[in-house]
Symmetry: D3
Subunit: 245 residues, 6 copies
């Protein structure tokens, strides 16, 4: 049913999951900024307060995340799973996230990649979200009986760092070259002041986006990684390839 209605879903929300208060913004804040500019609502689900990090108190980090989301125009929700640096893969977590998916009915879901050589919470959250978007479709899950099953349109991974980029998935580059998008993204990253004071996170992310942009013959691009093959009506959306140098 849903599938046949796809052409009208352009404005259904994008839902991004983050293990820590700053992950979404650093990894793909520019994509979120662009989607919002194009009229798509964005929701963030943050699964810890970053309390195990070396810098910033939970209170500060929650405030920073709220400020950052506000700058982007995204809505924000904190949930509690096992706490920062304590995340485990439990079916109860996946079901909880599936409930959020049912409630928010997103078109597109973003989550950290499954590459294991990164912060332990990142890939575990990616696993949980991948399972959650599947469970959101299954009609018989008891804990979710009061929420209608929802099939999302697509599931994409983001990579907080180079190391987290999956080597077995072909990336898709989202063009974030326009100055207003870059400014909005940068402002959102700057809002996480407790983190950016300690390490050159913003420089890292802009360098990654610039390198992608150079490959693509544009200014800046953010790489996302498909959770499933893309289904398209024609070749038209594919007519730009990143083939630099």
């Amino acid at each position: 049913m849903k599938r046949t209605l796809k052409s009208q879903t352009d404005l259904l929300p994008v839902l991004a999951f983050g293990a820590h208060p700053d992950d979404i913004e650093f990894a793909c804040g520019g994509v979120v900024a662009k989607e919002i500019l194009l009229g798509r609502p964005a929701h963030f689900i943050i699964c810890s307060q970053g309390e195990a990090g070396s810098h910033g108190t939970p209170k500060q980090r929650v405030a920073e995340a709220k400020k950052s989301a506000k700058l982007l125009g995204a809505s924000l929700e904190f949930i509690r799973l096992d706490g920062d640096a304590h995340l485990e893969i439990k079916s109860a977590h996946a079901i909880k996230l599936a409930g959020i998916v049912r409630r928010l009915k997103p078109d597109i879901v973003l989550a950290p990649s499954l590459v294991e050589n990164q912060h332990p919470d990142h890939w575990r959250l990616g696993c949980l979200v991948r399972d959650a978007v599947r469970l959101a479709r299954y009609g018989g899950v008891k804990e979710l009986q009061n929420l209608k099953p929802h099939a999302i349109g697509q599931f994409l991974f983001y990579a907080v760092t180079h190391d987290a980029e999956p080597r077995d998935l072909t990336p898709v580059f989202i063009d974030v070259s326009s100055p207003d998008i870059l400014a909005s993204w940068t402002a959102a990253m700057q809002a996480h002041a407790s983190q950016t004071a300690a390490r050159a996170y913003i420089e890292l992310q802009l360098a990654r986006a610039r390198a992608n942009g150079l490959r693509a013959g544009i200014s800046h691009a953010i790489a996302l990684f498909p959770g499933n093959p893309f289904v398209l009506d024609s070749l038209a959306p594919l007519s730009r390839g990143a083939r630099g140098f």
Copy 2:
């Protein structure tokens, strides 16, 4: 330069290369049918007359290919490289193909995948085309001096059989579910009567497309494989993922 004109390139041609008279139609005829229906011109470059095959004379096979292309609405050109079952990777071939790319100025180029465990001509042609679309961009290639450099938009691989599907590239599924597209594709395959009489090629291709379709929650889909990361302006084109069962 070209990049900034992308929004107007929707109707620039798709150029498909085939090692034998029937490869394009069997591998991705449905995609071609759909593109033509949507107003995009399609050109086929066929690099042998299938003279090493077990069935059909070169004369028959050329006639079949012409009939098939006509049914689809594609234009067709036979070229000579080394002959069927004799194709080698030579820079002169790549430059010859680059000249064709410069002459026809396609937006999207299709070629056989690089998986080596298939007909020896298939992956070699894929290599040559991949190199050709790069050489088409380089200004100093002497043999091509009388043709203006051309940068294509995107390069995609097709797979004539299961075995030829690359395992390290994330496929993109093109929806070919509508009855008229399926009918047009089937007719194009049937035009290769010398081949379909000998083996169940049509059944194989429709079974593959049906299996893809079932994964994607639609009727039929053909998988293509990106030669380069896709560059997109937003997430909108990605909102359908193949996530069946």
Copy 3:
């Protein structure tokens, strides 16, 4: 010791594990049908009642599974782990499954593949069974002290869907072409009426088997994936390769 007795083990049972009442039949029911026809006993261990699915009550699904196994000639056992859509990877589960392996002393064990982009219960069960067949060999596991260690002969993965097919293991195709095997397999799938009413599962599985068959130059084949390298006495069993088209 066991190894030298291998030539007499032809009739030792095949033991198949399924996360849900219909998984084994859909993924590899044809293989089971053939083994039973050839005189090998088959046992199914089903680890949930499919209670989280969108279609069919647990009662219906248990009845369907019993009917299906009966049609095939397999014996069937339901066990409880964490319940449908709730399966977790716990050592207690692996040990429980190892106990079943010790009790039933199978020669060959079948389990769902480890590819993670499928139903969350599938690959987790695959993990648990892989660990279980190893633990079944270790003499000191306390919970299993009253059961004699058992070393199985071989461990193979099945894939319920295309997406679940491992890309890093070379498949082995089991020929299920004979009409009686296909009929028996189809009947076993049809017995899961609550599922087949909702989606085209049978068509999907037969299309997959037909596509494999076309690759192998036969009618139908089911792909399994080796859990360990095969050990053979000679090249004789290898003299048929799937090399179609």
Copy 4:
């Protein structure tokens, strides 16, 4: 046609291709010894006289290869392609090898693996043989018109060294544990005296086979790598898996 006759093909020959006079024996001489013992004829096609090696004259090496093949009971043929350390991938070579395949009508073909980080002649010969066994099937190849098309049963790769073992194919272990087979294999390797005097080749190969044997719970085994999925009538041949320690 051929496929239905498979049950009678047990004694059809194995055909092994080697780039240098000693490659086959070092890589898989034990497998050849076993096949011959079981009554299967074996033919070796040697594509150079090892004239670029550091040790042994062409004359010596031809004599050693003849002696070695005689010890194993295999027939031997030297052919000329481009010469040792000069092999190139040319369609004329593949067609020449295809002619040999048509003439000798083997059931099983062995060739060096395609891993490129080994002697340049090895993987190139593997490519040529892979293509040759395909071309042997195609009816229209002009150079081969006077030889009837032949479809082999299966194509397997051997690895002369560790580095040449493909990482993306699941190995199959052939049990070469019996003392007479090991003795025959060792003698065949010793016949290449010009080579074994210079480096510890025999020790290397026996160490590899012993390590495989330990994994498989037997004495010695040689790993081969499938060129295509295996097609089997039942699970029976699969009931031994290498799962050591």
Copy 5:
């Protein structure tokens, strides 16, 4: 801070984690022997008493491990996680191991590889250690507040068997050719008498090291697998490559 002090860290300890009393010695005892000879302290953390194994009582195995470590000159510590054959991936375990890392302040950490087709405890311990060395760096982990954060220099995987060798990481070979190192390693393995009586573990490990040595043009070498890219000041340390035969 630590990074700039690297040139003085040559003698900071190596910390090796083992799931069972004999894993470290069998997998990489020769490397430990060499490091100790060169003046680097070595500590072993053993996470079970091997109580689920088929051979040896816990008491025996603890005694064997102590004897073995003493022979090598390493210090040894037994800890309790979930017990042999019961290990699970829990954040509490990773945090416990991170505490050990903070306490012992190693330069280099060794742990079992992440390849899943081995003893279930091995790869799980590898996961836990990988996460632990990351958590050891994060300042806010509550359970670790009384221990100063510590950033290790490098993290390397060992492989207890062939099957456990990662196929996607480039190995580094540590030269253990000198007779005294080999003797020390062998003695350490022999100390695990309850295990070596049952299976040919020592022969397996020496065969693996000999095969590596032959590839590298030396006597014996042990392969380790990098947990992260190596960072070097120059090409000087890289001037020996394993390129045999």
Copy 6:
């Protein structure tokens, strides 16, 4: 023989092969700068004059390369293979390059990576060099009889762009953080003025090196990719891992 002399080979030259006049400098000029600073001689072999490129005449490009090498302190040699954009894999080329290796007797050889999705000359030159360093060791190659066989120490790949970075080899990062090294590298790149005027090559390379540096906790690093496993005497050189963020 050579192996035992390794400790004295620190100052043996590094030999870098480039397909075009600017490839070496852009890909790994910083590494070369550092090696030269540390007293290791560096030689460049340039295999075309870049005559197929869009920018710069052959004369200009040769002059730029000479200037660039001079700035770095490397010696430079132009050779002719098939010409820019025309390179083919021929045994005569590999033998020619092997002759250069024998003549220059390098310790370490650098060549472009084998990833095929880059300039067609790049990966082909990588293939040729990989084969050449092997052929340089073989005593019987006739064309090389007047040059003594030479076994290099190690073979490393460089990647001119992101796309050319091998995904199946673990990179090693060479620290090029010191301001003088960065300045020397930048000057060497700037010397290729005809190229840098047209595209942001310098920015790309510095961005890549900066991103690597951030991963490694330093300023800048260049990634190289091992052609063979590293052989080391101890763990000491490995005590810095790139594990950022």
